[in-house]
């Protein structure tokens, strides 16, 4: 019995988020019937998929009580370098470009990983520093230029616009990332140990879990996903510029937190993350549809995040109070 109750409380969050998304979708649909059209749903998912991919990496980082502020810069850097490469060697297979971008991200992630795991630099500081460094390097390698659509071979642009099994590639990549992440987090030892490290780092240390190696791994994965996203970003918009994705990290973190990932570590589920990302995607994509003045958008996003987390807190408080009342009958 007791076990049941706990599970219910813990799924409450996802349920609430789900209901909120449905309600929001309904409200938007009332204002603009174009919202639930298939083409719009597809474009919404396409535009959200990069956010979703990054959110997976960020969740891993947050699970270990870390944070990564450098991903916007990593996206720009990996995107820029990859774009420069394909512009110079148009014959390069697109998948190789993807691999190159991801590898660049992995290297940046490894540097952060070393700083955090080996030298115990606080994640917020290490990534703040790397954010500046990598952004600066992006401008340096590009020499202030952009790489434009005509310079990129079609095969490269097709990465983001092509379809696999009738579904846009970006969505396919996001789905694959989510499936792999679900498996990784729930069914592999490493995944579960990442939860353990975030849940109680000291315990992890004494029970012989390679805490530092896992922290290193987490930032490496985050870097790799950011690098991958950089390539997808550039392919999607068919342009690479130095100021790509400035400040994007905060959106990713906000999406994670909406999805129930705790920045205090150890707590967060892929299912919740998915809902949080979708909600954020709707906010970013649907507001233009319902004729909301662009000047209201930022305020609305902020209020939604605040209301969502506060409602969640209230619901949990109430649940706990009623649980207490039940207990009071002892």
């Amino acid at each position: 019995m007791a076990g049941r109750k706990v599970t219910f409380t813990e799924n409450l969050r996802e349920l609430g988020l789900f209901i909120f998304i449905i309600a929001l979708g309904f409200a938007i649909q009332m204002r603009n019937p174009a919202f639930l059209r298939v083409s719009n749903i597809v474009s919404l998912l396409t535009n959200t998929s990069i956010l979703g991919i990054l959110a997976v990496g960020m969740m891993l980082v947050l699970l270990t009580r870390g944070i990564d502020l450098s991903i916007g810069s990593t996206i720009a850097f990996s995107g820029m370098v990859t774009a420069l490469t394909v512009a110079r060697y148009p014959g390069m297979p697109a998948l190789l470009a993807v691999a190159q971008g991801a590898a660049i991200g992995v290297v940046i992630g490894m540097v952060i990983g070393v700083l955090v795991a080996r030298f115990d630099v606080l994640p917020i500081i290490a990534t703040l520093g790397m954010m500046n460094i990598v952004r600066g390097l992006t401008y340096v390698v590009s020499g202030g230029r952009w790489v434009s659509a005509y310079q990129m071979p079609d095969s490269f642009k097709a990465l983001a616009t092509g379809r696999t099994l009738g579904i846009n590639n970006l969505i396919v990549v996001a789905i694959v990332v989510y499936l792999v992440a679900t498996y990784f987090m729930n069914h592999t030892r490493t995944g579960r140990r990442i939860y353990a490290v975030g849940s109680n780092p000291d315990a992890a240390e004494v029970s012989g879990i390679p805490k530092r190696r896992l922290v290193f791994l987490v930032y490496t994965i985050m870097g790799g996903l950011a690098g991958l996203s950089g390539v997808l970003w550039v392919a999607r918009f068919a342009s690479a510029q130095g100021d790509t994705a400035v400040g994007y990290e905060l959106q990713v973190i906000a999406a994670c937190i909406l999805g129930g990932v705790s920045i205090l570590g150890g707590v967060g589920k892929i299912s919740g993350l998915l809902l949080g990302t979708i909600l954020f995607g709707i906010l970013a994509n649907a507001l233009p549809l319902i004729d909301v003045s662009p000047f209201w958008q930022m305020g609305i996003q902020g209020v939604t995040v605040l209301v969502a987390v506060m409602t969640n807190a209230m619901v949990i408080r109430n649940t706990e109070r009623s649980a207490l009342r039940r207990r009071a009958t002892m």
């Binding site: 030892r189 000291d202 004494v206 879990i209 207490l324």
Partner: protein
């Protein structure tokens, strides 16, 4: 004491032996030429004051630290651990007081973290096998909760059981328990004794570390004492008296633990009537008078701490009344409580009592910053002087009040917390488990202080799970069980049996009736 060491050499059946272990940390010799041996199926008590080197000792056995010199022998073979995993593989497991649990993960995962069950080919986590195995282990320990429960939702005692299950799951042959009973009540401790003995019957050897002499007497066959990183002696438990053991730990005699003093009990300072906080306790009533020590006892979780937290303004009560010196009061927060003259020595010294990285002096004056400042401006000279005086009065052992609290032993830390309370003018002092995790020498000092306080006319509420403490110190005893007061006794007439009965015995039919009655009461919508 050298005669005691002799018998530890090459005893057949010795499963673990540590020889001439020395471990030096920068600036401190944590272990100095230490011996230890553990026999097959034995429960070996390990005692020593805080700072005696026990923790380092555990870390060396479990492979967290490597010794500087000396050797570890398991099953007659010399071993060297490069990581805790290697120690685990050789069958060494440690159960720490509270550090090793993952509150956000399930019980099964807690048990198998680090050696998860995986399926053969894909190496994926085999949840079914893990839960099945975990449930089997829990059943073996007679635990009545599920392996799917979230660890953080369990009581300390249950977490302890999970830890033991974890040790069993690694097929550990050598289990180290580090003060497992520190956070447990008598009842829960008894349960733990039973499980530990069960372990030994199954051939596991146990190193049982505890501050409580009672644990050692009940469980252990032999006891080893460390002091200041040195091995003092090792005796069969039957052959050593309690006093001798204390002397070995402290290095000096403690004549009387509980000096009986005759104190004049004065006016009533506190009256609590029908105090209720839904979900925690209900209808709690008692009074407290000047110079009186009122013991509040019962099992952990009986609502003792919650009552005191409510009186100290940490939480609000839902109904009932509190009168301080005859005037009815509301208590909003601890500051309010302090202004009313109520002070509190909280249960968890390190978390609630002290700012650990701070100096002694700053800690002492924290509750009375106002008194040492004018318009927020601190008068540091006056502050230091007052802090020094209090520290001297309580005999805090440190070179100056600028020593960090972090570096003090548990007992001295507790003295600092007491000094904090004394830095304000109070009438009522709540002491929540004042001797928890404190070594024997300091315990006596704290008892002494409590006596002094009563003599000075403070009304004292003492929460304690240790029966000798309750009986030895208090004037009256209030026993709680599951949020209710079940007995109020004059200490002079009280017996241990009476108290235990009031705090533990549950009459099944009576309990059922209570539940039924209150469900309907709740249903009628009385509410908050």
């Amino acid at each position: 004491m050298s005669e005691a060491i002799a018998n530890s050499d090459d005893t057949p059946g010795s499963i673990l032996e540590l020889r001439r272990i020395t471990k030096i940390f920068p600036g401190v010799k944590a272990l100095d030429d230490v011996h230890f041996d553990l026999r097959q199926g034995e429960i070996h008590g390990l005692m020593g004051e805080n700072g005696a080197g026990k923790s380092t000792f555990i870390k060396i056995i479990t492979g967290v630290h490597a010794p500087d010199t000396g050797e570890i022998v398991i099953d007659g073979r010399k071993v060297e651990f490069k990581s805790p995993i290697e120690a685990q593989r050789l069958g060494v497991a440690a159960i720490y007081q509270h550090v090793t649990c993952y509150p956000d993960l399930s019980v099964a995962e807690n048990i198998f973290m680090g050696h998860e069950k995986v399926t053969g080919l894909t190496r994926r986590v085999d949840w079914k096998a893990m839960h099945g195995e975990a449930q089997k282990l829990l059943d073996r320990l007679d635990a009545n909760f599920s392996s799917r429960e979230r660890m953080g939702a369990l009581s300390v005692a249950r977490q302890q059981i999970v830890e033991i299950a974890k040790a069993l799951s690694t097929n550990a042959r050598i289990v180290i328990m580090d003060e497992p009973t520190a956070a447990l009540t008598q009842h829960e401790s008894n349960e733990l004794y039973r499980i530990t003995e069960q372990l030994c019957d199954a051939g596991v050897s146990v190193i049982f570390i505890s501050h409580r002499l009672e644990d050692i007497r009940r469980l252990a066959q032999r006891v080893t004492v460390f002091r200041d990183g040195r091995h003092i002696g090792c005796w069969p438990v039957q052959e050593i008296t309690q006093d001798k053991l204390v002397v070995a730990m402290v290095g000096r005699e403690i004549s009387t633990m509980f000096p009986k003093r005759r104190i004049d009990i004065g006016e009533e300072v506190l009256r609590v009537a029908n105090l209720t906080r839904i979900g925690y306790f209900r209808d709690v009533s008692f009074t407290l008078r000047q110079g009186e020590i009122l013991a509040l006892t019962g099992l952990v979780g009986a609502g003792r701490t919650e009552v005191c937290e409510t009186l100290y303004g940490i939480a609000r009560w839902d109904s009932g009344s509190v009168l301080v010196e005859g005037r009815e009061v509301t208590i909003e927060d601890p500051l309010h409580a302090l202004r009313l003259g109520i002070g509190c020595l909280p249960e968890d010294r390190q978390r609630q009592g002290l700012v650990l990285p701070w100096e002694i002096g700053k800690n002492i004056t924290l509750p009375s910053l106002r008194a040492f400042s004018r318009l927020y401006w601190m008068d540091e000279d006056r502050e230091n002087q007052a802090a020094g005086e209090l520290a001297r009065k309580l005999n805090v052992k440190a070179s100056s009040i600028f020593t960090r609290v972090l570096a003090l032993s548990g007992g001295n830390q507790q003295k600092v917390v007491v000094a904090k309370i004394l830095s304000r003018h109070l009438k009522i002092i709540i002491l929540d488990e004042p001797t928890k995790g404190v070594d024997v020498g300091a315990k006596a000092a704290i008892y002494d202080i409590i006596g002094d306080l009563a003599e000075q006319g403070y009304g004292i509420i003492l929460i304690s799970s240790e029966m000798p403490e309750v009986l030895g110190l208090s004037d009256r005893i209030v026993v709680m069980k599951e949020g209710r007061v079940t007995a109020q006794l004059e200490t002079a007439n009280a017996t241990q049996e009476q108290i235990l009965k009031a705090s533990m015995v549950v009459d099944a039919t009576e309990a059922a009736a209570e539940v039924a009655a209150e469900t309907t009461a709740d249903g009628s919508g009385s509410g908050e």
